[in-house]
């Protein structure tokens, strides 16, 4: 099975506190630690496990600049066979639709049986997988938390739905799936693994290689434009308990008693 996994380099929210910059037009990007989008990492692990079982190759692809290459290398250190960097000035500032357009062009240049994306990334939009599937006219399922290969024509998949329930589907190949976290336990990547792939050549394709209409990507192609970043006032906010640890604990215990929190 030939599997394409679409990944994104994002600020690592477990390593950073996401804050506004002083101008209020972006998040503070100084000193941000970046890593592969968590959902995408699960998708790559799932692809590797599938190929281990049924044979084939895993290709990881991303849209980005030179720095995005480190994410591809990390996923190749996990066991992905090939990397592919889609990079062009015309791609910068693309919205989800633009990214899906670029990925569609790359997917059509290969011969993939299965395309995976993470269910969502840093912008919490959960959109690229569904758009990509529709553009390629392939069947799609989102929030996939279980995959079983039935034969080379179809998969049995589970989708995570409300209430901890799971919706089981049969889906024909080729198809596009967006992967939910928790589907597997992504393997650890050590320094040695990264070193092993450090000098592997990662091909780069630009807009003309891909035949992407530059009017559909980048800022020109954006039809959902982000205007600013801000932190809203949601209600009154919590009453913050201040003082020494002892004082805070004393106040908290009083409150818990009053609210029925201590038995």
């Amino acid at each position: 099975m030939e599997i394409l996994v679409c990944v994104k380099r994002v600020p690592d929210t477990s390593e950073n506190e996401i804050e506004l910059n002083s101008a209020g037009n972006d998040i503070e990007r100084e000193d941000l630690v970046y890593s592969v989008n968590e959902w995408d990492n699960y998708a790559v692990e799932e692809a590797i496990q599938m190929v281990d079982k049924v044979g084939g190759n895993v290709t990881v692809v991303t849209v980005g600049d030179d720095e995005a290459e480190e994410v591809l290398r990390r996923e190749m250190a996990m066991g992905a066979n090939n990397g592919l960097l889609l990079s062009d000035q015309a791609f910068e500032e693309s919205d989800g639709r633009g990214i899906a357009t670029i990925l569609k062009a790359a997917a059509e240049k290969g011969n993939y049986d299965l395309i995976l994306t993470g269910a969502q990334a840093d912008d919490n939009a959960a959109q690229v997988g569904g758009m990509l599937a529709a553009m390629l006219d392939l069947p799609y399922a989102s929030l996939v938390n279980d995959i079983e290969v039935i034969d080379d024509k179809k998969l049995k998949i589970g989708r995570e739905i409300e209430g901890g329930n799971q919706e089981m589907n049969e889906i024909e190949l080729p198809c596009v799936l967006s992967i939910q976290t928790g589907i597997n336990e992504p393997r650890y990547v050590g320094i040695r693994g990264i070193r092993k792939v450090a000098s592997v050549d990662i091909p780069i394709q630009n807009a003309s290689d891909l035949g992407v209409d530059s009017g559909l990507t980048g800022e020109v192609g954006t039809r959902v434009k982000r205007l600013d970043y801000f932190v809203p006032e949601l209600g009154e906010g919590a009453e913050m308990l201040e003082g020494s640890a002892e004082e805070i604990i004393e106040k908290l215990i009083e409150l818990l008693k009053a609210k029925g929190g201590l038995k």
């Binding site: 929210t13 639709r97 919490n124 069947p139 901890g164 805070i248």
Partner: protein, 322 residues
């Protein structure tokens, strides 16, 4: 923007809470818009939902087909592409169905997609300004959307208050004949219900709930000790279940359990909307987090800025001394 469509999620003949929230959201986009509910399904259950929706939507478009008995997004999408006029504005709840259908539908309708919208701030010509969040709710952003070719908008459940929906007496219009060919390459098989766990967190009055801030599986003991001292039970947010540190049955959130405790201690939990969506009944929320900017501090009653790994053991000790 004379007409706005809202796709109604329903189950067992009853519309989801989001059905009326979408009507409120549509009025916020354009107070003069005429509202049309689109209800797909099959048989008596569909009729019951359509009839209920006609009390709040001026028109209800009913699409009755065996193939739509279960809301398989691939099938529903095909029907909507055939039924909706070009340049339509269509609203979905940003639930697991809305996430499944919205992005692809926007491509097929050649319109714009806006995901997980929490507010609207008006329309200027063909530009609709909406509000959404990024980075798990840490920051919000205004987005300018070009509605000139139509739009698919996924609305976050719970933010537009359903009680503001205005009553009317709408017409039910049968659009079943327009659904067209509904054959797809994804077949719904069954729903596998969540497994019951060793404890039922939905029945507990006091929950000590842990998130990423617990850092390591070995630290869960700290929360268990506190829960024991308080007479409470340990629950958690999604990352703890993803890491397989606790059973899925302990997870609070839209993809986990809906709980109604009296007191909720959110320990090292950032407070994403998916997590908070599982918290009902207006509990007294105490948030303990070392990040002063964590969204949970906007939502809690009482906040404590502290590292839970230091704070929880001290709290446990004091309670045990009582």
């Amino acid at each position: 923007m004379a007409q706005i469509f809202a796709y109604i999620t329903h189950k067992d003949g009853v519309a989801d809470d989001s059905a009326l929230e979408l009507a409120v959201a549509a009025k916020k986009i354009d107070s003069r818009a005429s509202l049309t509910a689109v209800v797909t399904g099959s048989g008596n259950e569909l009729d019951a939902v359509c009839s209920k929706m006609s009390e709040f939507y001026e028109e209800v478009w009913k699409v009755d087909n065996e193939a739509l008995a279960y809301p398989n997004a691939e099938v529903v999408r095909k029907s909507l592409v055939n039924i909706l006029p070009s340049k339509s504005i269509v609203l979905f709840a940003h639930n697991t169905f809305g996430m499944d259908i919205g992005p692809g539908l926007s491509v097929k309708l050649n319109s714009v997609f806006a995901s997980d919208i929490v507010d609207f701030e008006g329309t200027d010509g063909s530009t609709l300004t909406a509000v959404r969040q990024e980075y798990g709710g840490a920051v919000s952003t205004h987005v300018a959307c070009d509605v000139s070719s139509g739009m698919v908008i996924n609305i976050r459940p719970g933010v537009f208050k359903a009680d503001e929906a205005t009553a009317c007496s709408g017409r039910i219009i049968d659009k079943s004949g327009d659904a067209g060919d509904l054959s797809v390459k994804r077949r719904f098989l069954e729903i596998v219900e969540a497994e019951a766990g060793d404890v039922d967190i939905t029945k507990e009055d006091v929950l000590v709930s842990i998130g990423r801030g617990i850092e390591d599986q070995d630290n869960i003991e700290i929360a268990e000790d506190l829960a024991k001292a308080m007479g409470a039970v340990v629950s958690c947010s999604r990352p703890i279940v993803d890491a397989k540190w606790l059973e899925k049955s302990r997870q609070v959130g839209t993809s986990g359990q809906t709980v109604k405790p009296k007191v909720y201690l959110a320990c090292g939990i950032s407070g994403s909307f998916q997590h908070m969506g599982g918290l009902k009944g207006n509990p007294f929320i105490v948030a303990i987090n070392k990040n002063p900017k964590a969204p949970i501090f906007q939502l809690a009653d009482v906040g404590i800025q502290a590292d839970i790994l230091d704070f929880l053991p001290e709290l446990t000790e004091k309670i045990e001394e009582m």
